[in-house]
């Protein structure tokens, strides 16, 4: 039988506010345990929450960024359960009246088509603290620094059919929230965490199968592996005659193992009710207008502009517009260099390769967009060849100069464009390789193209790469006849 998977995601996005959603404590990552938890975060008796307006603004921007309706009256509720890292014994979240209503996110599929994933809603909530079960000799440690960090939980419709689509959606969401500047996008610090709901059904069947939820995946790679593993597990179980049990599962990215955490029967009754310490959040039109005016160019729009205005291919534009940092870098390099296509090639080629080799983020690249743009400009005006440019790039990466011009000057890499000088080298090389010259001249036209490469190589070698390749070619053809 042919099976089809149905996948929906719940994504926790940590908002990049300076302070927590209901207190003035800092949200910075990595501080000593419990140094960023104030009386409110500790849930001390008598303390009260006050909503961080910046968190509301960020949630609204998210809604605008995914073409969603913004609920002008939205309500915080209490979700009740006991856990040591949940100081108040309830999480303040939204249920019936979330801030962001239904929206859409488009993803590009590998076959080049566009698929729309519907957003069911997104709601605001506070994060819990962390329980640390190691290093305490049989006891657990509680770190409440993260308690009260603002999150939006984005809930999709079950609109994805395989792990690749789910990852494409996750990447797109990452790009949206980083472009909006509402999340730092740092998955290793838990800034985005994915819960995946997976079910399978015979292809062509309308009715959904029983789903499971695998929680807290914090990398695209783990997410893809976890989904594929779960799809496989469900298909095998059904084919072996078992029923899928609705349950919550955990996936360990390091070992690649998955296990059941709790079944539906063991699930809590969270006893939600509207939080009486907080008034409903009322959003007026002027606030919406102001936020709309502050919206940056979204990846979708930027991609279209890259294609139309800068003449990039669909593929290049998709990759370059995906992440805000990459897109910003590319645009700056394109502008400085005056050649968008060349800039695209460099950003996707040499730069991407070097970043990858050095495990460096583009925002931390030692070669800035302006430096790369300056380098590309020198290729474009024939000051250096593409090959020499790679040397210059390496030098810039290593900090051997602060501009391409400086490196070119210092290392004497300027391309030779003086016809006389190049002609002298050409003559010298031809004289030293008389046998090859004769072979060339005896060869058919079709084979000559390849043979001429030999001479070019020798000449470039003799010129230490500085001879202008176009001029070399021209002279060779003239001299070889």
């Amino acid at each position: 039988m042919e099976w089809e998977a149905v996948i929906g995601l719940e994504v926790h996005v940590q908002l990049a506010t300076k302070t927590k959603i209901f207190s003035g404590a800092s949200t910075a990552f990595g501080a000593e345990p419990n140094t960023q938890a104030c009386a409110i975060d500790l849930g001390l008796p008598g303390t009260l929450p006050v909503v961080n307006e910046e968190a509301i603004n960020m949630a609204i921007k998210f809604g605008l960024g995914v073409n969603a309706e913004i609920n002008k009256v939205n309500v915080f509720e209490r979700k009740n359960y006991f856990y040591p890292d949940l100081p108040k014994g309830y999480q303040t979240t939204q249920l019936d009246k979330p801030i962001v209503g239904a929206g859409t996110v488009d993803i590009a599929l590998e076959d080049g088509s566009v698929h729309t994933v519907r957003i069911h809603h997104a709601h605001l909530e506070e994060d819990a603290g962390k329980s640390l079960h190691e290093d305490f000799a049989g006891m657990s440690g509680i770190d409440l620094n993260r308690a009260g960090t603002p999150l939006i939980e984005v809930v999709t419709e079950p609109d994805m059919r395989n792990a690749k689509q789910a990852v494409a959606f996750a990447r797109k969401l990452h790009s949206i929230v980083t472009t909006l500047g509402i999340c730092d996008g740092d998955m290793s610090q838990g800034s985005m965490r994915f819960d995946v709901n997976v079910s399978v059904r015979p292809k062509g069947q309308e009715k959904l199968g029983t789903r499971t939820e695998t929680k807290n995946l914090n990398s695209f790679r783990f997410m893809e592996a976890a989904i594929n593993k779960e799809i496989q597990r469900q298909i095998e179980a059904i084919e072996d005659g078992f029923e899928i049990i609705q349950e919550t599962r955990l996936y360990n990215g390091d070992t690649g193992e998955a296990r059941s955490m709790r079944s539906k029967e063991e699930a809590n009754d969270y006893r939600y009710f509207p939080c009486p310490d907080l008034l409903p959040v009322v959003i007026d039109d002027s606030r919406l207008d102001k936020l709309r005016a502050e919206m940056p160019e979204m990846p979708e729009v930027r991609k279209a502009r890259f294609i139309e205005e800068l003449g990039l291919s669909n593929y290049d534009a998709e990759i370059l517009s995906g992440e805000k940092a990459t897109a910003d870098y590319f645009e700056a390099a394109a502008k400085t260099s005056g050649d968008a296509k060349l800039a695209a090639n460099w950003v996707l080629g040499e730069l991407a390769k070097t970043l990858n080799q050095n495990d460096t983020e583009i925002k931390d690249s030692p070669v800035s967009a302006e430096m790369l743009g300056g380098l590309i400009a020198r290729i474009k005006d024939n000051t250096i060849s593409g090959k020499i440019a790679k040397q210059v790039f390496d030098a810039l990466w290593k900090g051997e100069g602060s501009t391409a011009d400086e490196v070119i000057e210092k290392k004497g890499l300027k391309q030779v464009t003086d016809t006389g000088a190049i002609e002298a080298i050409v003559d010298e090389v031809l004289a030293a390789n008389q046998a090859q010259v004769e072979q060339y001249q005896a060869a058919e036209e079709a084979k000559r193209g390849k043979m001429i490469g030999f001479f070019v190589g020798q000449i470039m070698k003799a010129s230490k790469g500085k001879a202008n390749p176009g001029m070399v070619n021209q002279l060779l053809k003239k001299k070889l006849g």
Partner: protein
Amino acid sequence: MSDPTSTKPIHQQSLAELSGALQAGKVSSVELTQHYLDRIKQLNNKINCFITVTEEQALEQAKAADTAIAAGNASPLTGIPLAHKDLFCTEGVKTSCGSKMLDNWVAPYESTVTGNLKAAGTVTLGKLNMDEFAMGGSNENSFYGPVRNPWNKEMVPGGSSGGSAAAVAAGLAVATTGTDTGGSIRQPASMCGITGLKPTYGRVSRWGMVAFASSLDQAGPMARTAQDAAMLLNVMAGFDPKDSTCMDRAVPDYTATLDQPLKGLRIGLPKEYFAEGLDAKVEQVIRDAIAEYEKLGATVKEISLPRTHHSVAAYYVIAPAEASANLSRFDGVRFGYRCEDPKDLEDLYKRSRGEGFGSEVKNRIMVGAYALSAGYYDAYYAKAQKIRRLIRDDFLKAFEEVDVIMGPTAPTPAFPIGAKANDPVAMYLGDIFTISTNLAGLPGMSVPAGFVDGLPVGLQIIGPHFEEARLLNAGHQFQQETDWHLHTPSEA
């Protein structure tokens, strides 16, 4: 030692009188404070209204107050010895909420109410006994034992602010703070023969007030006279950015309108407040008080608040529901009581909460959790909220034709300690006349209006939202014509 201009001993004088004496240099704050500290030492073991006495701190504050008065930097409240219900967080001082759960808890920060009063120069004598987490109407539900009514020590003082009411009645503090979720200021004020005001929800900040039911809790003054209550409310009320439910609305000078004549005041008497369950002698006291208002030129009209009989049911769903969540933080993990040698997390939770909370608190947590459970939410919590809106509508409609609503504060005077201990429904019905105002968010006040069998009875005055000044004016004018508020129990 007494103010030479008055024949009354210090502890029978009003806050206004003592304020005048302090400002005039006739008495010092240290003298006043010492007088009250001495009385507390002498009488608290009989009344049991103080949980904590902060003697050293009080005398230091009194010294500072005397310096401020001498320097001409005094507010009308400077140097006045007060005491606070033990659910206001007071920095560096135990804040127990009348519970074993917080017997070991010293608040690391100050509530807005007590902070405002301290900033105005008041002296804090200590923290007052109360029903555990403000749950109760008799002050019998305290880890620290019941408070006794100064008028008859076999009787309850009312609750939950029983310690606050008894302390004023017994002359152990000039005035006190209380909180009122379903009548917890007004009902003990009635039973102890003092003046107590529950302001409009949102008038006074809840920051630092340990929550019982967040949408109903409101702090207010408890004092000998309406004038005293007005002076205290001037300082207690006001916007606080730390409480999202606190209203950003100007605070009038509540003392400025006390002397307005009441001629033409339209009083509504809800027929539902003079119905079955109301003690006949209490009713007579209230009718006599209303007659006094008619003499002052007020007009009286019968009105109807038709959903009154639903208020107790709605309240005992909403308040426990909120409480069930508010009290989840007492889990033995970060502060408060923790059981001995927990064997695992579940054991830690179950025994810390099981041993730390008293039975009434546990009852209400269970009722509240049940009302919020999947499958019951609509039938209980959602329905109670609908009733709440209808009750509010009843009042708003009534206030289209009357200026204030009057009636009894409680259906009976104080009852014997233990009399209702095994009958929670009888206890809950004692709140029937006070609960609706909390559900509607309205201000309500109780003023002494007479006695039944030697026990005080309070008249309740309810006003439209943010019309505390009107209530205080009505209370003050009544107190110019009557002397019920001047009666003191024999020991005081």
